[in-house]
């Protein structure tokens, strides 16, 4: 599946107008839908979930003029219908090997592992002291000890335990993004030198 193009400004404006009369609310709804589509495609084990999400959005944006006059209800549910078609097309086009290797790894050798650890250390260094403390305490140890520590940390940071989980999760996601970017930069650097 080829990389999706960005929406043109008029297409994007029409889409937002359909999502909500208020542009700010419309932008929020757009982000919720886009994020939801990415989670959906990722959960269905599709590679490049972002691209599939954008494809879905592009299809809906191309039909807004037809949809808007007659459609009533949550726009997100319309996107869902389109996403299901995109999924069907994705699995039709995808070549599935008869047997997937169990726990296959994309880090092929010691150099790749070394790169991963170096990128992890670089990205951990970039965290703020507060984020550092949150990650360290949230993930350290396991189960019972972790629960005690989390209760201490929520008190210290003035957070409820669910808010702490959300915060730690967001730090973890940003850490993952940092690591992936670092690995990508190292890979492109390696390709240039070859």
């Amino acid at each position: 599946m080829k990389k999706q193009r960005d929406l043109t400004q008029p297409e994007f404006d029409r889409l937002l107008a359909w999502l909500d009369e208020d542009r700010d609310h419309a932008a929020d709804k757009y982000e919720v839908i886009r994020r939801g589509l990415i989670e959906l495609f990722d959960s269905r084990c599709c590679s490049d979930a972002e691209d599939l999400a954008d494809r879905t959005i592009n299809i809906v944006a191309g039909k807004v003029d037809q949809i808007a006059p007659a459609y009533s209800g949550e726009p997100g549910l319309y996107f869902y219908g389109v996403a299901k078609h995109v999924l069907q097309e994705y699995f039709r086009e995808k070549t599935v090997p008869l047997e997937m290797p169990l726990a296959a790894t994309v880090t092929e050798g010691p150099d790749d592992r070394e790169n991963l650890f170096q990128c992890l250390d670089i990205c951990l260094e970039q965290l703020s002291p507060e984020d550092h403390e949150t990650i360290l305490t949230y993930y350290l140890e396991a189960k019972r000890a972790r629960i005690d520590m989390r209760q201490n940390l929520t008190g210290h940071l003035g957070l409820t335990s669910n808010a702490l989980r959300v915060r730690a999760h967001r730090i973890r996601k940003s850490l993952e993004k940092c690591i992936l970017l670092c690995l990508e930069q190292r890979e492109s650097g390696r390709n240039k030198s070859n």
């Binding site: 839908i33 169990l102 726990a103 650890f117 360290l136 350290l140 396991a142 973890r172 690591i179």
Partner: protein
């Protein structure tokens, strides 16, 4: 649309591809209209990946995870990142236990390597002190002592474990009775397998013979944990031996430092590159 509650267990089933069509549709529709739910799903995914890395999934979940979830390179990479992060955090956890201080940050790996050398030298000096007498002092210490009891107990236990599990055994160990227990990896053990050790009034050495599914590692790390996965002690550089039952890693425990309860040994293999891979978990019980 009615706001149905989806708990983490159901979301996990969805992520493992083990859910009804109706539930799948409801979850996916919810993703597109509820931002908080999207975040909840993402968090559950990360927790599930962490549980896989920590070998905390059931056998069925692990199979579904490897067959379904790990079918994309992105998810495989997610697991590898989780594994790397868990390793760094484990190093920090041991650093906290050994130094007794609160680390202000996850240490630089070069500092960790230097710190390990210092700790090894210190542990060697501490080995001269009789662990049993020190343990008695700890047990009868005033309950309001400001010293962190859990960290001190861990240090005592690890010191004894280092003594018991080093290749050359000293004269003090041969004077004690040895109680042997053979344990199979968690995935292949029989329901009727004996997994109990009994604490007698005289101190003895519990020798756990951990059967290996294969022996492809340079050496092994054994983490002694409660049955809920709380780590009590870690010992490195254990090597495999060949017994009549096959290849095993022998892990010796001091009976006088153990309390009745349910425990497990989490065994990790060390590759030539220095990376760690999970081998298996070996549950066992200690009774009186």
């Amino acid at each position: 649309m009615e706001q149905r509650f989806f708990d983490d267990a159901l979301i996990r089933k969805y992520l493992l591809g083990n859910i009804s069509q109706e539930d799948q549709e409801q979850i996916e529709q919810r993703l597109l209209i509820d931002e908080e739910f999207s975040e909840k799903l993402s968090m559950t995914r990360i927790d599930m990946v962490d549980d896989y890395v920590a070998a905390n999934l059931s056998a069925k979940e692990r199979e579904e995870f490897e067959k379904h979830f790990l079918s994309t390179p992105e998810h495989v990479q997610m697991v590898e990142i989780a594994r790397a992060l868990a390793k760094r955090l484990m190093e920090c956890s041991r650093d906290l236990a050994m130094t007794g201080g609160a680390a202000s940050k996850i240490p630089n790996p070069y500092y960790i390597r230097h710190l390990k050398a210092i700790i090894s030298l210190t542990a060697g000096m501490i080995l001269l002190v009789t662990g049993y007498s020190v343990w008695e002092i700890i047990k009868h210490r005033h309950p309001n002592s400001p010293v962190n009891e859990a960290q001190e107990q861990r240090a005592i236990l690890e010191n004894e474990l280092v003594k018991l599990n080093r290749p050359a055994t000293g004269p003090a160990q041969t004077a004690l009775a040895v109680v042997t227990l053979n344990l199979k990896p968690i995935l292949v053990r029989d329901l009727g397998e004996n997994r109990s050790l009994v604490i007698s009034k005289d101190p003895s050495i519990f020798e756990l013979q951990l059967e290996l599914p294969n022996d492809k590692y340079q050496n092994y790390r054994a983490s002694l944990q409660t049955d809920e996965g709380v780590e009590l002690a870690v010992i490195d550089a254990l090597t495999a031996k060949t017994l009549s039952t096959g290849k095993v890693v022998v892990f010796k425990l001091p009976s006088w430092l153990m309390r009745p309860g349910s425990y497990q040994i989490k065994l990790t293999g060390v590759l030539m590159s220095g990376q760690y891979e999970d081998v298996s978990v070996y549950p066992f019980e200690i009774t009186k």
